[in-house]
């Protein structure tokens, strides 16, 4: 597909250079909040057709796999020890939840509908939200 500054709608059957237009891009929710990066993609291959993107994979397990080597193992290992359900694997955002993508990937769902950010939640509850003023944006 030819690059353009227009929005790209993820219509079924359209082809994109996933490495260029998707991987490592910022993911935002419906309200424009920053969620995560496209750490990896789940592809489905059918014989005779180009592979289709079915989900965005998020989190240290997905990132660690792409990093590879000792650093990648370290990232996966630390994550494995830190989370409550270590065998769950990377988080999946089904590609049907993608509204459009341009300089960021915009979802049609909100952050709360996805179970993202165990670390964020832990730090919020145990540290940041306890400091006075955490509920007011400084702007």
């Amino acid at each position: 597909m030819t690059p353009s500054s227009d929005d790209i709608e993820p219509t079924a059957g359209s082809t994109v250079d996933a490495g260029l237009h998707l991987l490592d891009r910022q993911v935002c929710d419906r309200e424009g909040r920053l969620l995560c990066k496209v750490d990896d993609l789940e592809l489905q291959e059918a014989p005779g057709e180009p592979p289709a993107v079915v989900a965005i994979l998020v989190g240290p397990p997905a990132l660690g796999r792409r990093l590879g080597g000792a650093v990648g193992r370290l990232v996966c290992g630390v994550h494995h020890r830190m989370v409550s359900r270590p065998d769950k694997g990377p988080l999946r955002i089904p590609f049907t939840a993608v509204r459009r993508f341009r300089s960021s990937v915009e979802l049609s769902v909100t952050a709360e509908e996805l179970e993202l950010g165990e670390l964020e939640a832990w730090l919020r509850v145990h540290l940041v939200a306890r400091i006075p003023g955490a509920d007011h944006a400084a702007g």
């Binding site: 690059p3 353009s4 500054s5 237009h21 490592d24 891009r25 910022q26 993911v27 909040r33 920053l34 969620l35 995560c36 990066k37 750490d39 990132l63 792409r66 990093l67 590879g68 650093v71 341009r102 300089s103 960021s104 950010g117 670390l119 964020e120 939640a121 730090l123 919020r124 540290l127 940041v128 939200a129 400091i131 003023g133 955490a134 509920d135 007011h136 944006a137 400084a138 702007g139």
Partner: protein, 409 residues
């Protein structure tokens, strides 16, 4: 009218915000040792930072993506992570130097030892980041930083031999008794001081915090192309007063008190008070910028929510990174590390980390997929590529020269 005021305010802020502890230390030190013979390195760095800050600000205004988003996207996760590690290290080291600089300014004003001021400064920096509105923070310290104009006034009052200064500036030569490696070592330090990576992290992320759009491109350009060069003039006058006062007397400058001494000599107590306010504002403002930049770069690499525009509880990881950077700076300074030495090392290390930050900016600023009709023009690309070559050479030469010259001794 209000638009014009906004542009002017931006320019004044950029002037005052341009100078930080790196400039205060490196410019005075180099001025005392080499006169204006190394001013070309400062000017080269100034051209570089103008070009790349403008590109990063333009990308932020057009796409809403800040610099480390681009780094991860164009370098991929591996090289991006390497750059993240290096950038966070250098930024934290710079933060340490800035906090030390604020504490030194307090010590000079009160004669109370800087180590007692350091914890207070760290808490103050954090409190401002936590509570003060982004635009207020930016403008307040930028405007107060204009007090550094005292250096230019002092230069005027010293009645220097202008033609001799011009001679040093226009026909640079290595001073007698100084080796070529030392000369180029300090050239890299000055270049690094002008092009410290946190400046583009902060400038582009600040654009997103200020909710820049295409409409703000004019403001962005005027800030960069008027404000930064005028800020560079402040840096140059710091160098020039050191050249006039210290070079003939053969004095080595290695303390902040020496940097401000020429102002006290010519303008007296009032001048000293004004310049200390300027030093405080410049270092405190840069401490805010570096602490935020540590948070910005980590959050942008991992895609976390960041920024002062949301409630802190919604950007918990970002705020924890900022606090961790401040804590690291506090611990490092409490080992009684000399802030001026920390500054010198941070400048050379930042020169090493430069190419991985500036290359992705140049690439994305040329990407029509991102930028639409706002891609780089030919002149920006030509100059940007030329500066990038200098950046690569400086980053390769930084460590060998540091070893060879025993860090400039």
């Amino acid at each position: 009218m209000s638009r014009l005021l906004g542009v002017m305010l931006g320019v004044l802020t950029a002037i005052g915000g341009f100078v930080d502890i790196g400039d205060l230390v490196a410019s005075a030190l180099v001025g005392a040792r080499f006169g204006l013979g190394l001013a070309w390195a400062l000017l080269l760095g100034l051209v570089g930072i103008c070009l790349f800050a403008e590109m990063s600000g333009r990308v932020a205004a057009v796409t809403g993506r800040a610099t480390f988003d681009l780094v991860r996207e164009r370098l991929g996760p591996r090289a991006g992570l390497a750059n993240l590690a290096a950038s966070v290290l250098v930024t934290t080291l710079t933060l340490t130097a800035e906090v030390g600089g604020v504490a030194l300014a307090f010590e000079l004003a009160t004669s109370v030892n800087r180590l007692l001021w350091v914890p207070l400064v760290v808490v103050l920096v954090w409190a401002v980041i936590w509570r003060v509105r982004f635009s207020v923070m930016e403008n307040l310290f930028g405007l107060l930083g204009l007090c550094l104009v005292a250096f230019a006034v002092a230069l005027w009052q010293l009645h220097p031999d202008w033609s001799a200064l011009w001679q040093q500036l226009s026909a640079p030569s290595v001073q007698e008794g100084e080796g070529r490696p030392t000369y180029f070592y300090y050239a890299i330090a000055l270049f690094g001081a002008a092009m410290t990576p946190y400046e583009v992290f902060f400038f582009s992320s600040g654009g997103v915090e200020d909710r820049w759009t295409r409409k703000d491109l004019l403001t962005e350009r005027v800030n960069v192309f008027l404000g930064f060069p005028l800020g560079g003039l402040l840096s140059l006058s710091i160098m020039a007063v050191a050249a006039v006062v210290f070079l003939p007397a053969n004095v080595q400058v290695d303390r902040l008190s020496q940097t401000v001494l020429p102002v006290a000599l010519t303008l007296g107590k009032v001048g000293l008070a004004v310049v200390l306010v300027g030093v405080f504002a410049a270092t405190f403002g840069a401490a805010l910028e570096t602490a935020l930049s540590a948070g910005y770069s980590v959050a942008q690499y991992f895609g976390w929510q960041w920024g002062k525009y949301v409630r802190p509880r919604e950007a918990a990881r970002f705020h924890v990174v900022v606090m961790a950077a401040l804590l690291a700076a506090l611990l490092l300074l409490m080992t009684t590390a000399d802030p001026v030495k920390v500054t010198e090392y941070s400048l050379v290390f930042s020169a090493m980390a430069l190419p991985l930050t500036y290359l992705p900016i140049l690439v994305i600023a040329n990407d029509p997929d991102y930028m639409g009709d706002q891609v780089n023009d030919r002149l920006s690309n030509l100059l940007g590529s030329a500066v990038l070559v200098v950046i690569v050479v400086a980053s390769l030469a930084a460590v060998p020269l540091m070893v060879l010259t025993k860090a400039g001794q």
